[in-house]
Symmetry: C2
Subunit: 225 residues, 2 copies
DNA sequence: AAGGAAACATACTACTTGGTATGTAGTCAA
DNA sequence: TTGACTACATACCAAGTAGTATGTTTCCTT
């Protein structure tokens, strides 16, 4: 294939992936048919099956892409220099920002974790699911690690059962996928204001004092596209 | 009908409702067929349709029951004498306790709110949905009201956008439906420990100081069945 | 005892859906 | 130009599902 052909294919693939994410977001996995996704693109099943061998593969592709995005969103904070609380702030802000900016993908990501429910039948699907869960564990472990460091140096406080607190914390960061919906009049700044409030609540839940939160918030580089 | 017959029917109805809740919990609405629910009871469709005219009616019945339960769970705290923070603590503890104790119903409740997604077709279903949402608003309004009082008297602190903080707060209280699963070895006390941690995180997120949380926690009557 | 209603089970229909098999228009290299 | 290949669309099938119509058994009332 020529160079432009490769790029064209990649663009079509992305278009399909996003359409699938939007459909899965708005109707859920089971209620979304392949025809639904195709119609959403003004196409037919043929196009979908040309790129993905099955509905589950399409769904998995969306999930993995979402995982890529959320990793990328918290990478900077995780890698940065600074106190655990400060790093956690940046990781959280990146995560929440991604929840809002990549809403369709992130909705599928969060929703898909619930999908352990659909007792996935085939062996291959089970493997894909386990690989996905492994990535998720790695991701959560990042946050858990930084939280524990923050507790150790006294900036953060957790309840007797760390895992419960972590679940509550991560759940708060994921929260926007359930209630945020883009509006015509929201700007990058208005989105950032939402991110700030969510992160403030989450870190306050970990016992970080308000002064530190306000400080980190003001220090955080907020690049508005 | 005789008295015992009425009671028998009520018991069968409850049995069906619970079975439906469990199926909807584990597979979601779209992926749950009427036959699934029936098989879960060791019965057939006939029995389900004898009590409910349609799948959607069954689902709505589960949701309304869940709403009843969650209202009841926070009633005592809402009605009690005390500071806003103290009342909010009790309301939250009752809410979270209910999330854990009535997990199948509550999962459907939380999940069902997402179901605005399924663009409900018929007029009747839309009315049921709106009635349900109205109840939910009343419920959330209770919490919002007490939070606002707590902010007014200085015990609680929220971000610039109250609604975002409230969403995060309620989301935290609902969190257990996503990650808590009953285990063979959990007792009423171990469940209460989870409740305590979730409520601690949530109220800490609202800026309530740790001493107050610990105080309310110790004061809270914890009746272990 | 008899009649009827309640509480289901069984059988069936119309429709949807995941997946496949096949057709076809455009593209591109030789 | 032509043959192969890409990128779909169309037609089709088997399986599953919501809902209905019709038994059948048990129980309650009279």
């Amino acid at each position: 294939m020529s160079q432009t052909a490769v790029q064209a294919r990649s663009e079509r693939y992305e278009e399909l992936l996003r359409a699938a994410a939007e459909c899965f977001q708005s109707r859920g996995f089971a209620a979304t048919s392949i025809d639904t996704v195709a119609r959403h693109l003004g196409a037919t099943k043929g196009r979908v099956y040309h790129y993905f061998p099955s509905k589950m593969d399409l769904f998995n592709a969306v999930r993995e892409r979402a995982m890529d995005l959320v990793f990328a969103a918290s990478d900077d904070g995780y890698a940065m220099q600074g106190s655990p609380a400060e790093r956690l702030y940046e990781m959280s802000a990146g995560h929440v920002r991604s929840m809002i900016d990549d809403l369709p993908y992130m909705h599928v990501l969060v929703d898909g974790l619930q999908m352990l429910r659909y007792s996935t039948t085939t062996q291959f699907q089970r493997e894909a699911m386990e690989a996905h869960l492994a990535r998720r564990d790695v991701y959560e472990q990042r946050f858990r690690e930084v939280v524990v460091e923050g507790v150790a140096d006294g900036q953060l406080h957790v309840g007797p059962q760390l895992s419960v607190t972590i679940q509550s914390f991560m759940g708060t960061l994921n929260g926007p996928v359930f209630w945020y919906r883009p509006r015509g009049d929201d700007t990058s700044e208005s989105r950032q204001a939402i991110v700030d409030d969510v992160v403030r609540f989450a870190l306050s839940g970990l016992g970080l004092n308000e002064e530190s939160i306000t400080l980190y918030s003001s220090q955080s580089r907020k690049v508005f596209a």
